[in-house]
């Protein structure tokens, strides 16, 4: 293999680091999206037998949004292997214990259970907030678009923006707001 071909090989199989902001995102739909990047399925060179998966850094995993009443209804099962070792944890309890676990399990479960799955998961780095170690942050060269728009809360608007917002009706002075 000539020097040029060797460099070409490195360039083609270079691992890219992506960033994904999980705030206000459905972890189960996000998992289907992140899976593609982790396995390298978004690349034209993808083949199940070549190792071309990328790294994905997920930030703000503590702000994920589960659909409907899934925080209360979704149950995570674990068995220690001993008699009576079964335990059932609700999604909100799991999220309280470790705010990265719901997303991590969603990504893990979205992939097929083959020998590559553990190694693919090694390339996923989840952080509960936006504090990413600078050595990881410096690797990032792409940001994955969010699946749904992130709503802006009222307290995130400035006082001026609120004042200038168009008023639909002028309430009378004696109107009582409950």
């Amino acid at each position: 293999m000539s020097v040029l071909k060797r460099v070409q090989q490195w360039a083609t199989f270079a691992r890219i680091w992506h960033l994904y902001d999980a705030a206000w995102q459905n972890p189960f739909y996000s998992a289907e999206l992140l899976k593609k990047y982790l396995m390298g399925a978004h690349k034209p060179i993808y083949h199940p037998m070549n190792d071309c998966g990328d790294h994905v850094i997920v930030i703000n995993s503590s702000d994920i949004a589960l659909p409907g009443d899934e925080w209360k209804k979704r149950v995570y099962f674990h068995h220690t292997g001993y008699p009576g070792g079964a335990s059932w944890t609700l999604a909100w309890e799991l999220h309280k214990k470790d705010p990265t676990l719901v997303l991590k399990k969603a990504v893990y479960n979205s992939m097929d259970g083959n020998l590559q799955r553990r190694y693919t998961m090694e390339r996923l780095h989840i952080f509960p907030d936006a504090n990413v170690p600078s050595n990881l942050l410096s690797n990032i060269s792409n940001q994955i678009k969010q699946l749904r728009p992130k709503p802006k809360r009222l307290d995130e608007y400035t006082e001026k923006e609120i004042q200038e917002f168009p008023k639909l009706i002028d309430l009378p002075k004696n109107h009582i707001l409950r």
Partner: protein, 186 residues
Amino acid sequence: MSNSHIFLKPGFINVPLQNGIGRYVGQLQRVVLKFCKNNGSSRGMREFIESDLVNFAKNNPGIVVYLKPRRHRTAVIKAEYLNGDTQWLSCRNFSKDEIYKWLELLRKQQKNHEGSRIRKLWHTENPSIQGPWTPFTFRDPKLNLATFPDEELGKSENVASTSQDELVEMFKRQKLLELEAASASN
């Protein structure tokens, strides 16, 4: 590729010594047709030998054809190639046409392909003019200067405008109209 092919020896399409570029050397060296003179399973082979074999041998002077009559045994074709491969093919109850078809295959192929799978159905010396793909081809140059995390880059696309957005737009249009009306009256 299916699972039944996973343990076959993988290979690429190739020809020995650039065969077919300028000159062609048939790679089938020798073929032995074994058959029985009595048994019904060799009937097609006997018919082939009676009607087509002489023509086959005449048309392919580069191939040595042997006939081997054996009593009470099934019909067999054994082919030997220039690269040393030998291929054994059972022709039990084959018709004349089937035998002709298989012989044509043996004549045209470069070696014995049994026990191997082809990774790609094509071969080229010049795979791409543009060069192989890398993660950096077709990349948005905007990403080179971005600092991550970037709110704008991460925003979701193709979102329908909300009623709130439309309300704000209507309000802005109304303001503009009022301004125009004011300037016209002045």
